[in-house]
């Protein structure tokens, strides 16, 4: 019996090995290498600079850099803009498309399209729309007599322009998750609320929303991780400019690593980002647990 169990375990390990190897090559090794890099003075474009161990110097440089904190603040601003609008719009559209109305199934499918497009393509599509001289958006704005808006070429508008593109792409994600949750809700509380004569708003506020809360927190949590890493759309639309108006964390890391070629500083900035996002996740998890405990009581 024990001989068979041991054999089974070995077979299981053999089957697991390819997955473990892939995980090691694609995730663990690069991460350990990046950690090693973050403690070194490594400039890819200047082999004459000794690639020596510098301890925490790269981390200290980042944590005393104004540009780093500006990038962090810009990232949080963008996250606040996109997540709040995506949540409101996503839930609203989900409530609409789960109604038993004609054409809703088709609408649901069509609304998912933006989410399936690569972010680079989304960036290019919005670049055509925002393009200062020839963009469609300014053309349509012009038809109603409003002046052209310098969407991506003004420090005032650029971050909003990025947020609009991100909202367009990722609102369907919230919509999809919420719609699925809405369809799985038990009908009994609704019947009870209707018998009690509650208004539609009260039903939504006191029946639907509390039941959706865990799902919404999970969806927001997934979007927050993604929004924190946003890169492609910004790279295509503004490359962090004008000035540093749209320079978020990922662009800051890119600039350190592939413009200044300071791979050590770039790696250190990545790890600081990782720590920040881990703290955020932990905070979300804790608040979710607290909310579930409160609901259970």
């Amino acid at each position: 019996m024990s001989h068979t169990a041991g054999r089974n375990q070995r077979i299981a390990l053999i089957f697991l090995l390819p997955a473990v190897l892939i995980l090691f090559v694609t995730t663990i090794y690069p991460m350990v290498y990046a950690l090693w890099l973050s403690f070194r003075n490594y400039d890819l474009s200047k082999p004459f600079i000794p690639r020596i161990f510098v301890g925490l110097a790269n981390y200290l440089e980042i944590l005393t850099s104004q540009a780093f904190f500006h990038a962090l603040l810009t990232t949080f601003k963008l996250m606040a803009m996109t997540l709040s609008v995506q949540l409101v719009l996503g839930v609203g559209i989900a409530l609409l498309v789960t109604q038993k109305l004609p054409g809703m199934a088709v609408a649901r499918t069509l609304l998912l399209i933006p989410m399936m497009i690569s972010p680079v393509v989304v960036g290019l599509v919005w670049l055509f729309l925002y393009f200062p001289e020839l963009g469609y958006l300014n053309y349509f704005i012009g038809l109603v007599g409003l002046g052209p808006v310098p969407w991506i070429t003004s420090t005032r508008w650029a971050l909003t322009a990025i947020a609009i593109a991100d909202i367009w792409q990722w609102t369907p994600f919230i919509m999809m998750g919420t719609a699925a949750a809405l369809q799985s809700l038990s009908p009994e509380p609704y019947e009870a609320a209707r018998i009690d004569g509650n208004s539609r708003w009260d039903v939504f506020r006191y029946v639907t929303l509390p039941q959706l809360k865990p799902v919404l927190i999970s969806l927001l949590f997934l979007r927050a991780i993604d929004a924190f890493k946003i890169y492609d759309i910004i790279y295509v639309l503004t490359k962090g400019g004008p000035g540093d108006a749209t320079e978020v964390m990922s662009l800051y890391i890119y600039r350190q690593s592939f413009t200044f070629w300071r791979m050590g500083v770039g790696a250190a900035a990545s790890f600081v980002s990782l720590i920040i996002i881990t703290v955020l996740i932990t905070f979300f998890f804790k608040s979710m647990q607290r909310s579930q405990v409160t609901q259970a009581r």
Partner: protein, 470 residues
């Protein structure tokens, strides 16, 4: 039987001898080269005819054309690889120090000296060769010569009504600007809305007085600011410390002047990259632009620029500031050989460079109407070609007293830091030019100051090109 054997022997010998002759004729037959190039005139003109080079030499050349933003990043990655994909690299002259100090480019000095007559070394404007050197070594070969100069709508500046109105308003004759103050007056004068008259005709579009680069992308703004700074009497480095010294009055005045041109530029000025900036001139939507001559050829070609149909392009040397005439910046776009290529590939790459930059090919481009910005005296001084391309004379005359651009190993730090800081200043986010320039200089100096003084001074020293030594 004997006769048959004799015939076989004779045929074999003939084949063998013929083959040897063929191999001698094409010693590089079968060699394949890849070029990491740009999608602009210095490469787009030569790319369609590389088949002719293959026929002549047996060397097959594949050219990958990439946009300028990001190209240096790919070249750095390529240079740091131990097994390179590209043997030929397109190089903008400010990159020569960065790539040269890293040992990424093959020194072509010996080859150029050996083949001096064949390549017409004396025919090349000396500063164009100097532009491609690092510590005196020739690391790239000119494929396109540039100067930062004035380009304007000659049809508007030569219009009698416009001239009369201009004189009435400003008190002097309308002509290509000699000073930056005049350049701004002209820009202000011609900033007009759609429907207003320009040159006696109603405009179909908004006409902007000027079109300059203000975008931070790939430091585009610095490619205009640095020549402005030079024109106002500024320079990059402190000759005593080898550190960034771009915070003097001249530097501040240059930045403030550039900002003063914003009201006459397109409203989305912060997005003006080179192609967008030059696009305004090409469509005739800007009255003037101080710009690099790399795309000037397009302005006189109706297939590439509307301006050639609706108006006329004019060219003049860069205006001067209160500091008086200053040597303007020149520039070169060149072809280089990856130092990690094999010896045979390096020799084959040199053959390609000789062919692609030869007087014959360059003249052919000029004759066909699709000439690149030239660097050969014989072509630039040709009266027939000067008539065809009015900017040739300006390009030639400006080179006499021109100075090479930045060539420092930390060029990218300069371009990026000044790009971001100047863009913020132009957007009004940084209140003063001095603050923006100080921020950028401090960022550059924080990296440079760790190096010994001797090394910093070596990096800013423009050692005369060995290839020019007699």
């Amino acid at each position: 039987m004997v006769q048959w054997k004799t015939m076989v022997w004779a045929a074999s010998m003939a084949t063998l001898l013929g083959g040897t002759a063929l191999a001698d004729d094409k010693p590089f037959a079968g060699v394949e080269l890849k070029m990491l190039g740009i999608g602009d005139t210095s490469v787009t003109r030569v790319a369609p005819i590389v088949g002719e080079f293959e026929k002549q030499t047996g060397i097959k050349v594949h050219i990958d054309q990439l946009p300028y933003p990001g190209l240096i990043d790919k070249i750095v990655v390529e240079a740091s690889s131990s097994s390179p994909t590209y043997q030929l690299l397109w190089v903008d002259s400010p990159w020569v120090g960065l790539l040269g100090e890293a040992g990424a480019l093959e020194d072509m000095t010996a080859r150029a000296k050996r083949d001096a007559k064949e390549i017409g070394l004396d025919d090349i404007i000396p500063v164009q060769l100097q532009e491609n050197t690092w510590q005196g070594k020739l690391l790239a070969f000119p494929a396109s010569g540039m100067i930062w100069m004035q380009q304007y709508r000659a049809d508007l500046l030569e219009n009698a009504d416009e001239q009369a109105n201009f004189k009435k308003k400003y008190g002097y004759d309308l002509a290509p600007a000699k000073t930056w103050a005049q350049y701004r007056d002209i820009a202000e004068f011609f900033t007009r809305k759609k429907g207003e008259l320009a040159g006696g005709k109603p405009l179909d579009f908004d006409l902007y007085g000027a079109s300059q680069s203000y975008s931070r992308v790939q430091g585009a703004i610095t490619h205009d600011y640095f020549p402005f700074m030079r024109s106002f009497g500024g320079d990059y480095w402190d000759p005593k410390t080898g550190l960034c010294a771009m915070t003097s009055d001249a530097h501040v005045k240059a930045a403030e002047y550039m900002k003063s041109l914003i009201p006459f530029n397109p409203p989305d000025y912060l997005g003006l990259m080179w192609d967008i900036q030059s696009g305004f001139m090409e469509r005739g939507e800007a009255a003037e632009a101080a710009y690099w001559s790399v795309r000037s050829v397009r302005l006189t070609n109706p297939k590439e620029a509307t301006l050639a149909t609706i108006g006329k392009a004019g060219f003049a040397e860069s205006p001067v500031s209160d500091a008086g005439p200053q040597p303007t910046y020149t520039g070169t776009l060149g072809f280089a050989i990856n130092a990690k290529s094999s010896d045979k590939e390096k020799d084959a790459a040199w053959e390609f460079i000789k062919w692609a930059t030869s007087e014959k090919i360059m003249r052919r481009f000029a004759d066909e109407g699709s000439g690149v910005s030239q660097f050969r005296k014989s072509i630039l001084s040709d009266p027939a070609l000067q008539k065809k391309y009015p900017y040739y004379k300006v390009l030639l005359d400006s080179q006499v007293n021109a100075r090479r651009r930045i060539f420092h190993p930390f060029y990218q730090d300069m371009e990026e830091n000044f790009g971001v800081e100047l863009s913020k200043y132009m957007a009004g986010e940084t209140p003063t030019a001095l603050e923006a320039l100080s921020n950028a200089c401090n960022a550059v100096n924080s990296r440079l100051s760790i190096f010994p003084l001797e090394q910093r001074l070596r990096w800013i020293q423009d050692v005369p090109a060995e290839v020019l030594a007699k």
